[in-house]
Amino acid sequence: MQFVFKTFGRGAHPPASKITAELPLVVMDAPERLSVPLSQHIGAPAVPVVQQGDEVRVGTLIADAAGFVSARVHSPVSGRVAGIVKRRTPSGGTSLHIEIDNDFNYTEDLLPPLSDPSPEEIRERVRECGIVGMGGAGFPTHVKLAPKGKTDLFLLNGAECEPYITCDCRLMTERAGEVVRGAELLAKAVGAEKAVIGVESNKREAFDALTRACADSSAAVEAVMLRTKYPQGAEKQLVFALTGRRVPPGALPADVGCVVDNVHTAYAVARAVDKGEPLFERALTVSGGETGEKGNFFVRIGTPFDYIREKTRGERSDDDLVKVISGGPMMGVAQADLTPCVAKTTSSLLFFGEKEAAEEPTQCINCGRCIRQCPMKLAPRDIERAVLAKDFARTEELYVSSCMECGVCSYVCPAKRPLVQAIRLAKKSLKEGRR
């Protein structure tokens, strides 16, 4: 038994609120019409390859990648393309969506499974199946796997440090074998000797399941327990906790010989290689005080949020609903309405009432918590002051670009200052050339 868990410096301890941690993953029925977003990854939006009226089956390619940093999109159901329309995405922007009418037959159109694939075959399969980083960033995985320099370690992010979200926890517990298999395939694809899965100490069951699966597997995969602390799952913090390597500002983990991917991504890779299944569904947590039937669900990409709300509403009325968040409460995006649809990066949907909404800011008392607890060693207090003075050049001197917007500063602030919000404004202003 391990008593001192690996971790990073500083950070915070928001209440975990993992209400749904014990609830098994349930398949949620697909609605009659799904809208699959074409921009659910970092990079160029995918280009539709189907037209209104086309027949599609589960796994049929419906939009192709527009360039190297882009990802394919596949049909989540069988049926007919109803149209291509512009809709809001969970991240707040708009994008073209392919609307598909479900025929509820679920006839499949999958790729042939690969047995004993080479690294090139794995990378090609990942690209074909449209797999992107499913932790939230949505970076196309085949780009990460493209070799540049020597990679000796493959790290899997199973920290799931955001409060409320439990979909990765359930996936690791129930599908440990496939997660470990995915880790093995990913490590092979980048030529790493070893894969390490980092799991926070509050997911004991998931850790035990992974440890058993690692013992069953012949590959060099290991599960490591991490301290429960936010943001344990941030890329640079995870690399430091697991390997002691420091990723310099502006650099990627690849620069220190590591590649990091989410456990759900690994699961998708295992499915893609062993079953030939493109990425068209994902695990999703529905939680928060205003959810009647909380739980972890397998949902098909393109399922509208209002459909999920109806399925999980229980006895709750929409009148008490104050905030809806796609993603975790620390870094997720508040939704203006329930029209967006589940994307490959949507890990949770939280329905909050009045009690869970934030307070009004008061004057900074200079307590220094934001500075002492910033995982990136920045000075949010000084950056906010510079932003209020519209001195954006000064924010650059304060290394504002190193901020990963984890939200620890705003969380710990006793005066409830909008610190990370000010940092976002500074970054945006600098990008637009304002000084």
């Binding site: 430091f240 905030k323 620390m330 997720g332 508040a334 909404a357 004057q363 006793p414």
Partner: protein, 367 residues
Amino acid sequence: MKNLRVSSSPHLTSPANTQRIMLDVLIALSPAVIAMVLLYGFYPLFLTVLSVATAVFCEWVFNVITKRTQSVRDLSAVVTGVILALNLPPVVPFYVPIVGAAFAIIIVKMLFGGIGRNFANPAITARIFLMLAWTGVMTKFVLPVDLSDGANLFVYFKQGVEINLPDAITTATPLQTVKEAISSGGNPAEGLNALDMFLGRIGGSAGEVSTLAVLIGGIYLAVRRVIDVKIPVLYIGSTALFTAIFFADSGYVGEYVWTYLLGGGLMFGAFFMATDYATSPKTPVAVVIYGLGLGFLTVIIRKFGTMNEGVSFAILLMNIVTPLLEKIRRKPFGTPRKSVKDITDAVKAKFPRKHVAAEEGGESVGR
């Protein structure tokens, strides 16, 4: 469906707020207040009430006149009032805490922008102001009430309004005893008892005398993570270190160290005043310099100064240095650390050795 609230993440905030932090400080001050009443009776408690009432009233009036958002509910004025009262001698005329609290709140705190913006600790600045304005009153200390003598806890109310206390009830503070030893070269601990100093059965400022009570409060603040515990630890540690260095040839190093640690307001200053949010640095390097500077100045002033105001002046001076210390920027996480060779290379590039430059110049001319 009605409108949903949209805001930028994070959507959670910690339960900590300004009022709760100030309440924690008040809880941490309560052992010192209790010790004060047990030692000197109810008169200093009466002064504390006056001080707190004045502080809150001044902040309220200031906010009303200047049309600022009312801030008395955050309890920070109450904290300033209590800390100021605990810094005064147990028996002073009633108007002393009133003037002091008004000075602390209006001049040091509110005129500079209120909570979090003051340039120095309001209580310590007010104490120094009172010390300069009413030196006679502020340097007369009484003995703790001796209940076995038939006296009661209300005994000092009689002397309260007098400016000149009768000599019969005044006493020297341990630091005054030590000061005499510095000039005479004798044993500084002569006539002092470490246990009495630890419990507070000595003459001194009302709330500072009991090291035990102050430590209980200080540990509470550290456990609740209200203060950065590095500051008091460094301050107390560096005071011990510099005392040992400055009195190395006195022959009484051990005696000087323990009298300096237990005497005066060192413990109180280290836990409750040096850690003031607005006037203490936040980054580790700056905190180390701040803590060492506090200890160094305290010992210098106590050894060479005419007034025994080491802690007050050390904190005031380091408060003023804090904005400079804050200019030490921390590099973001992951910035490659400089090796010794990098640093020496940088120094060499900045200061080229003259004869090397001359040689190179000579060569180029030669060719």
